[in-house]
Chain length 209, copies 2
């Protein structure tokens, strides 16, 4: 298909597609004439994935780049691809974390070890949890990392189901797309569902009809 | 206490505290001399709350303002305060949503009604779910809003427990602080836990030791 068709199929304007091509987020089409390239379903799929990362994941181009690079890097295993996706999603490691966050990070590391979760030393989630724990303490709560225990059991089960839905025989491109969608799209859904459920329960608890 | 002590107690620089005062995020201290004000525990608490909203919730000053205004507006019920907090957290309503998002919003509204969740028409979560559903469809998944059913049951239970931890006899300030902390801080924790659990399960599924 021509670029105009690719634009119609993805609902993304031609100049934006050309921008993705220049930025190498999108691999070039096959040239059929000096000024004319042919695109296929893989292009459609890639453009849609980029849009989801930007619109739902609210990522910038700088964050999208390592993700698509990881998809195209055939030397990476599926597990390594997930690591790249997670690092791109952030948050970036804090270069000078406050003393209480560093202390909380130690607590989080020991807690993760007790739970037996196999996660890399530089997983961004470790710092996220440390910031969360430090914030609770700053707000005057006398809490240890096991404050996460109850949610962790529920989430461990949920994440297990989610990872299992990625078929082992799926193609690389399909597997990573499912990882990204699972992480970014369903994360947004989870947060929205929780806020809606809070409102629902708050209505039941605090509002007399 | 003097402003220097407020700064030490909260680990927030004096110029930042002065900025919060000018922006009316923080209520003024009691003047003991023309150029000297006295601050108390309520100020410490407020400054810490603002920092958590900014650092953990990644909110801008424009989003923090309606939240603190709602806390100070004694005419709002607790349930109404939660609504204000949720609206400030966003996302803002899309002024010109695409046709597929509008269609998805209808599906989400009907789904919420079937579940019997009492949520206001302008709850931002409705649009978040609509965007999520539209994104899944754009990526080629043939899904209805009941794709959220399984997570919704789990989240409904979780949110119910969370709302119940706010004592009915808690002071207004304490109740809203707990709402904000519960929404913003534990949301960050939930997202981090889910990503860590994905990595853990991915290690088990895709990596042969």
């Amino acid at each position: 298909m021509r670029i105009a068709e690719l634009s119609r199929a993805t609902d993304v304007p031609i100049p934006t597609i050309k921008y993705y091509l220049r930025e190498r987020l999108l691999f070039p089409g096959e040239f059929t004439a000096p000024n004319q390239a042919d695109y296929n379903d893989a292009h459609v799929r890639r453009v849609r994935l980029i849009r989801v990362l930007i619109e739902i994941g609210r990522l910038g181009i700088a964050q999208v780049r390592p993700i698509v690079a990881a998809i195209d890097d055939q030397s990476l295993s599926r597990h390594e691809m997930l690591g790249v996706v997670q690092k791109a999603l952030g948050p970036d490691a804090d270069r000078a974390p406050r003393a209480d966050v560093v202390a909380a990070r130690d607590d989080v590391d020991r807690w993760l070890e007790r739970r037996g979760w196999r996660v890399s030393e530089d997983a961004p989630g470790r710092w996220s949890l440390a910031h969360t724990l430090a914030a609770l303490r700053r707000l005057g709560r006398d809490v240890e990392a096991d404050v996460f225990d109850r949610n962790a059991s529920m989430i461990e089960e949920l994440a297990g189901r989610e990872v299992t839905t990625i078929p082992l025989e799926a193609s690389r491109a399909e597997a990573v797309e499912r990882m990204v969608v699972g992480t970014v799209v369903f994360e947004t859904a989870l947060v929205a569902l929780r806020r809606l459920a809070h409102e629902h329960h708050s209505a039941s608890r605090f509002v007399t009809k």
